[in-house]
Symmetry: C2
Subunit: 227 residues, 2 copies
């Protein structure tokens, strides 16, 4: 937990993947003093938490690991008895089995509570709707709706000090995100995207697919493949 | 976790206080099959969880106790080094020190995730703006805003199966709530309202104040005083 309050603080949702790491560096570039929050929510790719911690450390930001169970499961990301669907990226318009009900709503709600207490003015999230899995809680209309709800349901909001929800990558392609990550000096080799969470990225899940696609299109070799 | 899915399921936020218990019985009267959720969030009146469990059992409903930390605190309800403010009920228009940043937002978000997985159509909450402590996240405009955000950020919402946020007590006075609780057969003596969470209600905090006021105005003796 940060001790000092500044006028320009942001809470950053840092999963440890490429998008959230790039979002953190984008927030820092905008001059925000960032406090990161990451979630230990029973995900099978729990190893992303170690990536988040490493990236926060390298960026000089504090990080809080928030435990939060989704015991009702309902997602292949939370249930090892289910298979991660490997072919979703060919089925546009279908929300895949990896969808976790209310995940970003819960994560943003906790980030909001944290942000209000530390007097942060913004919450940064790496949501993206270009090369993504079709999750409803990544769309700009959802993020706007969350911001309005947050203004209505918090003390700071009703007092006119609204907390902004900022998604700097929301309309970028994965290739653009790769280029931005390189430009901002994101420690890409420490990011983790694969849903399977094994020793090496599986190369088959949606997350691996979009990542590989982005690096290829940007003409950049993914340094995480050589760690 | 409930095993059977019904067409008329609701998730009920049951804190163990008078309002949430009455809300549960109101949901049951409307024909909903209810699954309760209660939160262990570091509150000093943690004993309300035992009340919630007892009330759920008496009502024949299942209950899930969800652990969720607010490690950033920022509220006298979460921080035993702070005093519960005893005189707020005389200061209308001031949000008191017992305000927990984003509490109902976090609770509703988790209830929403649960509700979507068990195919519930509604979430019931005992929010009230008549005899209350001025919390922004109890107001009807907030609840409407949450419902809209939930429709935008969930799979069921974008597929047109919106989950309703229902607050049957929102405009009732505490005396009306007492009368309704009596009428619906709520096991009032098992409810717990006091913020202090000691062996007996303190009789001084906002919650005790509003409760005593409601019973007096309704002309009903509070059975919890004799347990």
């Amino acid at each position: 937990m940060p001790r000092q309050l500044t006028m320009n603080r942001a809470v950053v949702l840092l999963s440890g993947g490429l998008d959230s790491a790039t979002t953190l560096y984008a927030a820092k570039e905008k001059g925000y003093e960032c406090s990161c929050i990451t979630f230990d929510y029973g995900q099978r790719h729990r190893r992303e938490i170690a990536s988040a911690k490493k990236i926060a450390k390298l960026s000089g930001c504090d990080i809080h690991v928030q435990k939060i169970a989704f015991p009702w499961k309902g997602s292949s990301l939370l249930d090892e008895s289910k298979r991660i669907r490997e072919t979703h990226h060919t089925q546009k318009g279908v929300i895949p089995l990896t969808y976790v009900s209310g995940r970003n709503i819960v994560f943003l709600s906790l980030a909001l509570s944290y942000a209000e207490v530390v007097h942060a003015r913004a919450i940064f999230i790496g949501a993206n709707v270009m090369d993504y899995s079709g999750y409803p809680d990544c769309r700009p209309e959802f993020l706007q709706s969350f911001e309005a709800m947050a203004a209505s349901g918090t003390k700071c909001g009703v007092e006119g000090k609204k907390i902004k929800i900022v998604a700097p990558l929301v309309r970028k392609t994965k290739a653009d995100i790769v280029r931005l990550a390189v430009k901002l000096g994101v420690p890409i080799k420490h990011t983790w995207s694969c849903y399977e969470g094994k020793r090496r990225p599986c190369g088959k899940c949606d997350s691996c697919y979009y990542r590989a696609h982005g690096f290829k299109e940007a003409g950049v070799v993914d340094p995480a493949l050589f760690t």
